[in-house]
Symmetry: C2
Subunit: 203 residues, 2 copies
């Protein structure tokens, strides 16, 4: 089994944190944006969309999409459960992980791609779309601060994959976008300090 990853990639980071929480270690082959080996034919045979991460199983089967990879490991190594323990928790974690993707992570990536100098010449940037997504991201940070008022983690009372998704989104917002968590978001800041001090945060 082998994981194909991308240096500094937001989604590969999600999977690496997830694997660290599961205490799984496996061989990792890391691509980078400059040499772009993940867009070459040999890799496109594994994942025609050229996205990372990709998990290659021992029989040669490839699994792309971060959450698909995480779900595979959740079934292989059930403890600690990162998708919830009961049917209701499974649904709640799915709901919250999707909210963290749709409301935080995808806007963060859009702001990065459409406004950051790194992407000039690599992608067609639409600055006004990037600005719209920046406003959404800022509004959603405030919403999440309220949601975390009476709750230790995102969605349920136990650290789960929705925490990881929010964590990598806000890590990217703080780093690449210079949009750190505002000081008047005490609950979000408390949560951030908790997830960032877990050993998996360095994965």
């Amino acid at each position: 089994m082998k994981l194909y990853s991308l240096k500094n990639g937001v989604n590969p980071r999600r999977v690496r944190i997830f694997l660290a929480e599961k205490r799984v270690s496996l061989p990792i082959e890391e691509f980078d944006m400059e040499s772009a080996g993940h867009k070459a034919p040999a890799f496109l045979a594994k994942n025609p969309l050229g996205t990372l991460p990709v998990l290659e199983l021992d029989n040669g089967t490839s699994i792309a999409e971060s959450v698909a990879i995480c779900r595979y490991f959740e079934e292989m190594i059930p403890e600690p459960p990162l998708f919830g323990r009961s049917s209701l928790e499974h649904a709640q974690v799915e709901m919250w992980n999707r909210r963290m993707e749709l409301e935080l992570l995808l806007p963060t990536i859009d702001v990065f791609v459409h406004t950051h100098p790194f992407w000039v010449g690599k992608r067609t940037q639409v600055a006004s779309w990037g600005e719209q997504r920046r406003q959404q991201l800022v509004a959603r940070m405030r919403w999440l601060d309220g949601e975390l008022k009476d709750r230790e983690f995102v969605g349920i009372d136990r650290y789960n994959i929705a925490d990881i998704t929010a964590q990598v989104a806000l890590l990217t917002a703080r780093g690449a976008l210079k949009l750190p968590i505002p000081e008047d978001h005490p609950n979000l800041m408390r949560w951030w300090n908790a997830v960032s001090s877990r050993p998996s945060a360095r994965a």
Copy 2:
């Protein structure tokens, strides 16, 4: 148990097709964009993001996000399985459902929101973003046509939730966007005819 839905809504349609495949029937309260009851305080108490669909359980717990609702019913009513049967299939269906969301459904919704007259005055439209997403949607239809060459359904050899996601995306593309499946996409067309002739397509 009760489902809150939206008249002509793309995501509520996904859930209704899923429930029809499971042969589940439950009370549905339908909102519409004009009266916008789903943006009123009474509903925002159930889902602060004001999105639909929402499933309300008998104990008052609300589950938002289409796939979270579908996953809940998958656990309550396992047959027929629409998320795969084995751990590998679970991962593959997750991968393909996400591909259908990220590569077809979200672009379709963006083209609709950013270029269609219906949204003028309701949302800040960024026409060039809509055009970029339209090109992506057209390219992904061709890619999916190739992927369906040797496969009856999306991702695995059995009808599953990724088929439903692709189905509602292409239904919206054909209807609201006037972007039907091109005639030189024989595999996608064969698949489309198959999923559209299932009784659930009328849900």
